[in-house]
Symmetry: C2
Subunit: 633 residues, 2 copies
């Protein structure tokens, strides 16, 4: 009998031999790693050789849900895709919501571990425990929507859930993403390119399995309590339904931290034009949800002129509007929505695409690039046409797009001429749309995330400036307010604890908008819920240690790949004054920042080179991974 | 208005000027330090100068309850007495149950901080918020019972609760204890001598204040649930009521870990004669309880011949029977009960007394001591008369007793002639009655406890050898069984986490027999309960960090006093073979043990010299204490 909350088994796929196999996984592994990011790291550290080409057949690609994914509470819809990243050449991990993760579990597996490379395109179908690799040569080159439709037709199941790549993944754009249901995206670290390199076009899942719940009544009670809290005044559930994540455009702009023109500024004169509110009043035609979620925060937009945008591809999130909009100086919401559709159809990451184009625009402005380089396109800030064209060229690796498809770091290295200073990335991963000069933990997150610049691990500092906001994290032991711009050990401590917490989220597969601090589910509710589902009697202590374990494992992964403390950096721009707006002139102090990094290492039990100590590894039950880090004393 | 669960204020007493003062304490201090041991450390580190004479006027003596002491759940009766120890010359901390702690809170204060020295004997009376220092010259020299009776008479309150010292404390026996209600004992580290040195005979408390409960209904629910769990089959509540802590005599003897003849052996041929079962069948006349507790684990014994033992002084606990019985080779329960009464009446620690006499007996056996040294007493293993006489001589500092009253470490140093190898102590604190060769975490606890050899911080390893026992600590993340004799990093990890947990117990003031692993209150129940009492939304994460904070603070205390990693040792005997019984020949491996200590330091975020790193101190919000440790990098 399957354990409560999950199937207790993973599917192994060897693309080279076109074989699949089931593997039982002990309960202790689920409890120690939960699922998602931490579970993926467990397998990657054990089974992926260091130093391999991320686009070669030796890379290992993992799709992982958790011991709670697909259970009744809303928010437990997320799953992880992980592998060595072709973008950062180090740890790659990215989460998406939607329906695919729960459906994978219903199909009979908690995770899929994929090795090797198919000699010609295939897709994987899993239906009620039966896994099959099927020909996909006829699907190669197809956009996301066409691919999904054809697979559904072939399999005779209109509701089968499909995670797939479009031409961007096939052409190995290094920031290609994986898309499920055309609008839920595992966006970062180029996992779509790993699929492409393996000739794996898609994974279709469907099943009737439902997870046993250890205490179904208690599950119901918690769901009810959390739902009620979500309806209370002050809850973000309402605004998230109404305006979606694009509500951040106006909020961040007002605070002076809406990244604009490649992070030079934090206010954008056309913010209102590209805001969630404007979207609602103009092109919004529907709202989409993830499995079990009443919020429906996803946008669905429709445009007929001057170009067509199909609501099946959803609509732009805040990050997309920020990256393809404000960051490129573009105030044309329709152009952004169109570019968003291109990204979904070709499956390339909107964040990386936006940051990479903004880089090129700043190079263009400074004469480092000219129309001769770009095939005649005038890549100027504010030029929506140029932006849309560039997105397509990247997705297709056409002309100058082929260079940008290598990622902003590699592109800058190849362009040279001082362009590196405009390449806004950490560890090769282009920056998301959040401004460290206005919230210092974000700076720490960018520098310290194992996947490079990543906003998912960063708390939104302004929340914790007040007693009112602090209530969300008092259970972590952060009981006194901490200013947004503080960079003392207090901020490092808050960041460290919240990084553990976000690692829990990315492992148990819960939506950031469901749990504290954004959602109504407190950390203690979350623990209760996991216990009600699994019967474990776990605690926030044990779960925070999973979070810490995630950080230690990903650190080990990156050390194995040759990264050092020298890679824990921020683009120099953040040590220079922010231009304009309420925070005009603000900059991070480099000495303070570097001291904060050292403090973080010590808080983590890592040495001055950022290597986890032997004892810390043992405390985290990672003794098996000690041999991977020569520095582990 | 007072915050939920506590008064929010401490009483400050300056004995030199005979003044008292109230002090409001911010809620954040209670949340960060909880009470008891951690709260005491907070004040001691801030207000006690390092290097002072523990028996001088500069020592600071603290009595501390917690934010939950005296609330309805059973087990929340305990309080801490702390100061610099005259026995170890480092951190002194000791807990007791009974009724005094709750009554202190009802009197209006959560803690008392005592400084200076009275120029002649005084006692402190606190009644309904009014504190008064009263003359005690007429009480000086009186035994515990007489002292209690006279104070009650003077204050006209037969039910006033009194913590006091007898002549042992007055005469500065370095392991003098503090006794409340004649039978509840703050036994270790010589806090009774600190009272004696300050000319403070007693503290009498009484009041009508009752603590507000944040969620009284939830408190009731938890109490009900925990009580019901305590009645289930397999619960220790029944056996603890029936046989009390002396039930350990037969259990440990059967396992070969009942310390016998100064820790040479682990089985005692007369174990049954001194067992809890025999006590029940012979001299037991009643069972006593602590505040709110239905278990009534305390013994009350009565003997008329050949000497009188008064049930008002309770009866011997397991530790007393072990120390004054098996450790001295004595199988005479009446003699042990009489010696126990002497210890209570004179207020000296039964554990230290037993271990110190056993040391002298082994010296006697080896000719290092002779009847000439002992004033004619034949201090032989098994000589009950000699043991009883020696207890009295120590308590009165008479003859050879005066030397032993200095503690086993100092006595051995003065005796010389190789006697040191028979002195079973760590950091000067005589060993309690538990055998490290049969349970390795105990060895770690002895070596690493800031108060020297202390059994309260040590888990009972055999419990965690099985899945059944493991359920008690799975919430800590220890999810796979660990053998009793294992000394790998797995054991160190379990010990470290349990040390945090026991530090919570000693700070929140909960009885070890109430909470997991011995009692029915799980760690998650405990967190729920503290939340229901205080309204904090705390978590096991936050509370475990209080436990870790306690360890870091006490480490800093000891570093300030000159202790180093070299003081983290075990008596050499434990690296030699155990004699007889099921574990005949077992010894600890010294290399393994020393590696385990290093592993512990790393797990704690301490350097190789056992000094907490700067970052770890900051993580634990102890940045204010960093200047105290020069090694803090």
């Amino acid at each position: 009998m399957a354990p409560d909350g999950h199937n207790g088994k993973v599917l192994r796929v060897d693309l080279s031999s076109r074989t699949t196999a089931e593997e039982q996984v002990p309960e202790t592994i689920y409890r120690r790693y939960l699922g998602g990011g931490a579970l993926s790291l467990y397998y990657l550290l054990k089974e992926l050789k260091p130093g391999v080409d991320p686009l070669g057949l030796e890379n290992v690609l993992i799709f992982a849900t958790s011991a709670a994914t697909g259970t009744p509470a809303f928010g437990f819809s997320r799953f992880t895709v992980a592998a060595k990243s072709p973008l950062t050449h180090s740890f790659g991990e990215t989460e998406a919501g939607g329906w695919w993760g729960p459906e994978l579990k219903f199909s009979g597996f908690d995770a899929i571990i994929i090795k090797g490379k198919a000699n010609r395109p295939v897709y994987l179908s899993i239906q009620n425990g039966k896994a099959e690799l099927r020909e996909a040569s006829h699907l190669w080159g197809q956009l996301a929507r066409e691919t999904q439709e054809k697979i559904r037709e072939e399999l005779g199941d209109k509701r089968i859930r499909i995670a797939l790549i479009g031409p961007g993944g096939e052409k190995l754009v290094r920031f290609a993403c994986v898309v499920n249901e055309l609008k839920h995206v595992n966006g970062r670290t180029g996992m779509g390119a790993v699929m492409g390199a393996k000739n794996l076009k898609a994974i279709a899942v469907r099943g009737d399995e439902r997870m046993a719940l250890h205490d179904a009544e208690r599950v119901r009670e918690i769901v009810k309590t959390v739902s009620e809290k979500g309806k209370q005044p002050g809850s973000l559930m309402g605004p998230l339904h109404d305006i979606g994540t694009p509500r951040s455009v106006m909020l961040l702009n007002a605070a002076g931290i809406l990244p604009t023109k490649n992070f030079r500024g934090g206010t954008f004169e056309k913010a209102e034009d590209i805001s969630g509110e404007t979207m609602k009043d103009t092109i919004l035609v529907g709202r989409g949800a993830c499995h079990g979620c009443p919020v429906r925060c996803k946008r669905e937009v429709k445009i007929d002129e001057p170009f067509k945008v199909d609501p099946a591809y959803g609509g732009p999130e805040y990050e997309t509007i920020g990256g393809l909009g404000a960051l490129c100086g573009i105030g044309d919401l329709k152009a952004i929505a169109y570019a968003n559709q291109l990204c979904q159809a070709y499956t390339i990451d909107t964040i990386s695409t936006g940051t990479t184009i903004a880089f090129a625009m700043e190079c263009f402005e400074n004469g480092i690039l000219t129309a001769r380089d770009t095939g005649g396109i005038r890549l100027e800030f504010g030029n929506a046409e140029a932006m849309m064209k560039m997105v397509e060229m990247i997705a297709k690796r056409e002309g100058f797009g082929d260079l940008l498809a290598e990622g902003v770091k590699t592109a800058a290295e190849k362009i040279g001429k001082g362009s590196e200073k405009y390449a806004m990335h950490v560890k090769g991963q282009p920056l998301p749309l959040h401004e460290p000069r206005g919230k210092t933990s974000l700076g720490l997150a960018y520098a310290l995330s194992p996947t490079g610049a990543d906003h998912i691990e960063a708390p939104h500092d302004p929340v914790f400036e007040s007693e009112a906001g602090l209530k969300f994290i008092k259970s972590l032991g952060v009981i006194e307010p901490i200013p947004s711009l503080d960079l003392s050990h207090r901020k490092v401590r808050m960041f460290t604890y919240l990084q553990h917490l976000y690692n829990i989220f990315n492992s148990i597969g819960i939506c950031n908008f469901t749990a504290y601090p954004w959602g109504p589910m407190s950390t203690n509710d979350l623990v209760d819920y996991v216990n009600a589902v699994t019967g474990w009697d776990t605690s926030l202590w044990e779960m925070m240690k999973v979070g810490e374990r995630h950080s230690a494992m990903s650190r080990v992964f990156n050390i194995r790949e040759g990264l050092t403390a020298k890679d824990d950096v921020l683009p120099n721009r953040f040590f220079e004054p922010l231009e304009g707006g309420p925070l005009n002139g603000k900059r991070l102090n480099i000495d303070e920042f570097q001291r904060a990094l050292k403090t973080y290492y010590q808080m983590m039990g890592w040495d001055e080179n950022g290597v986890p100590s032997r004892g810390k590894m043992e405390e985290l039950e990672l003794e098996w991974a000690i041999p991977f880090v020569s520095g582990g004393k």
